[in-house]
């Protein structure tokens, strides 16, 4: 088992202004230097593995290095606005020499470990150069616009012959140095976020963040695919059973009754007539069951008019008085419509059954390319997602569409359950 991989989403907030970029410049530089030192220690520990000592200390060193990578990623997220995903290492195997040896073997044969080491060896050099740059510009600029005038004009010293390309051998050249220095300070401050972002991206490339993201995506897809497969199989079984026990059985009964009626016609026409009447009643029942079954597979209003109208129809027929505010385009992707419809219906049924509410309110709209359906009740609140429960089932089915279900339900209510599913053409499916 592996722990959760840190994802590379840009954290909320982003870079906090130009001047924090300068602080970030120093913090990130310090963190990268720490990485460099830890890497040296880790490499030495690996040399000691054949001597036995390394077996005990190497896994610990790697763990510390891994934690440092996560710390740097957090700092990047804070100062550069974008972090990077750190691959997950195999979990520790336990304590003792044998466990240490096993862990060393597992680490040395693990792709994530080599991704981490590649980053640890290379990133300090490139990263420090990028991270220190904004601070360097500002420091050098301050030297030109503040230190040189003070030294020259105040103390009469000549600490240097050249400031960049400005010859500062005479007092008359000092203003040029001041102008250039100010320019460098401003440039350093303005370009700071860019350097830090570049550093963060470079870290991300070296550690192979995209691979981590892809792996997380692959495992999410495998899990949801399994859900979908099981769900589809279960649904087919249910339909098969319903048809078998319902309409099919009734058709058999109808055929039998008609057969008997046929033989009764010459001898007892009245009994035959009664049987024909029963057969007709049975056929109406069978039709009713087929109708209910079809409604469960694909509701007519959904097929005719799309999700918005179907939600309104659902509200009309709901067990509790239900208001709707629907702002949806006429049609969405049909599989998405169907999934969202059944999820919403389940949430409404749940609310009517368990919330003790007197009214329900359903909203449906599209925000930022995501279909968002909210169901609010004025019931007693305290709803939670119980693993294996109704809400959990809805959440898992929505996961196949990269959807999510969130519950806000304080004690004493009100409860709001929100379903969100991406519905723009740039769906994550093809990311």
């Amino acid at each position: 088992m592996r722990g959760n991989a840190t994802t590379s989403d840009g954290g909320p907030g982003g870079p906090a202004g130009r001047w924090s970029a300068l602080r970030g410049s120093l913090v990130l530089t310090a963190q990268l230097v720490t990485v460099m030192l830890m890497t040296v220690v880790t490499v030495i520990a690996s040399w000691l593995i054949p001597l036995g000592v390394g077996v005990l200390i190497f896994p610990g060193c790697v763990r510390v290095l891994h934690r440092q990578a996560e710390r740097l990623s957090r700092a990047d997220r804070r100062f550069a606005g974008t972090g990077f995903a750190v691959p997950s290492l195999p979990d520790p195997a336990g304590s003792g020499f044998a466990a240490g040896a096993r862990q060393c073997w597992r680490l040395l044969t693990d792709r994530a470990f080599w991704q981490l080491m590649r980053w640890a060896v290379l990133d300090p050099y490139t990263g420090v150069l990028l991270a220190i740059t904004p601070f360097g510009y500002v420091a050098w600029g301050l030297y030109g616009c503040a230190a040189i005038p003070v030294l020259h004009l105040g103390l009469g010293l000549r600490p240097t012959e050249w400031y960049a390309f400005v010859p500062v051998t005479s007092t008359s050249a000092v203003p040029y140095a001041v102008v250039l220095g100010c320019g460098l300070v401003v440039f350093g401050a303005l370009s700071g976020p860019w350097w830090l972002r570049t550093q963060a991206r470079w870290s991300s490339v070296l550690i192979g963040s995209h691979l981590v993201d892809l792996q997380a995506r692959v495992s999410a897809l495998s899990a949801t695919r399994e859900e979908v497969r099981d769900d589809a199989a279960a649904r087919l079984r249910r339909i098969e059973r319903d048809v078998h026990d319902g309409a099919q059985a009734q058709l058999v009964a109808i055929t039998m009754k008609l057969g008997v009626a046929e033989t009764l016609v010459p001898s007892d026409p009245n009994a035959a007539l009664a049987l024909i009447g029963q057969a007709r009643a049975d056929s109406l029942n069978a039709l009713g069951e087929l109708r209910d079954l079809m409604r469960g597979i694909h509701p007519p209003v959904l097929a005719d008019r799309g999700l918005g109208a179907a939600i309104e129809a659902m509200a009309i027929e709901a067990a509790l008085p239900t208001t709707t505010r629907v702002r949806l385009p006429a049609r969405l992707d049909s599989s998405l419509e169907s999934a969202a419809y059944f999820a919403t219906r389940e949430v409404l049924t749940n609310a009517a059954k368990h919330s003790g509410a007197a009214h329900l309110a359903v909203t449906a709209d599209i925000v930022d390319g995501r279909l968002r359906i909210g169901v609010r009740d004025d019931g007693k609140g305290g709803a939670v997602i119980v693993p294996g429960g109704g809400l959990d089932g809805i959440r898992r089915r929505l996961a196949a569409f990269d959807g999510a279900l969130t519950v806000s339900s304080p004690a004493d209510g009100p409860t709001e359950i929100v379903l969100e599913v991406p519905c723009a053409s740039s769906s994550q499916r093809t990311r």
Partner: protein
Amino acid sequence: MRVVVAEDQIMLRAGLVSLLEAVGHQVVEQVGTGPELCRVLGDWRADVAIVDIRLPPTHTDEGLQAVLAARRVRPALPVLLFSQYVEQLYVRELLADQVGGVGYLLKDRVSHPRQFMDALTQVAGGGTVLDPTVISALITRVERRGPVGTLTERERQVLDLMAQGRSNAAIGDELHISESATTKHISNVFAKLGLHASLDDNRRVLAVLAYLNER
């Protein structure tokens, strides 16, 4: 009567036409698609139309849309819609104009030709006819939602038949009760729902439906 039939399933359409002709009606137009239906309704030369909700080319609610559009131009144009399912949303849309001359039945009802023909006659005469499943769904919902005077089994049967557009005499015949008993049941239904009973046959149905729909 001169009847228009809009139905895309050939077998059902042929069955309907032979049924109509057997009881002496004249089928003046048979159509199988939405656009054809629009043309026929726009150029109205019949007494009543029987329309399937789901028609080509989209196989969605073409029939219903055509009827709603035609009734906006020509209010109370008598149409009997029939379908494999009844949807409350569509019931609301059909009844929204409150003028009658409209029916909405399950296709199953064709299996009782006499009742189906009665319904057709009611609609042609400006009445309102709804499938019993609509009424029972409406009543169930109203009862689930709030404290209304609960209807007795007999009162519900009377309400069902009333919504199917039957007269008091026809309701009495169906339930094997006297006409005065029928009238008593009807006034009970109206009292329990808090409605005025002094309306003519068609308007009282609309009043009951409007009441049930609003709950």
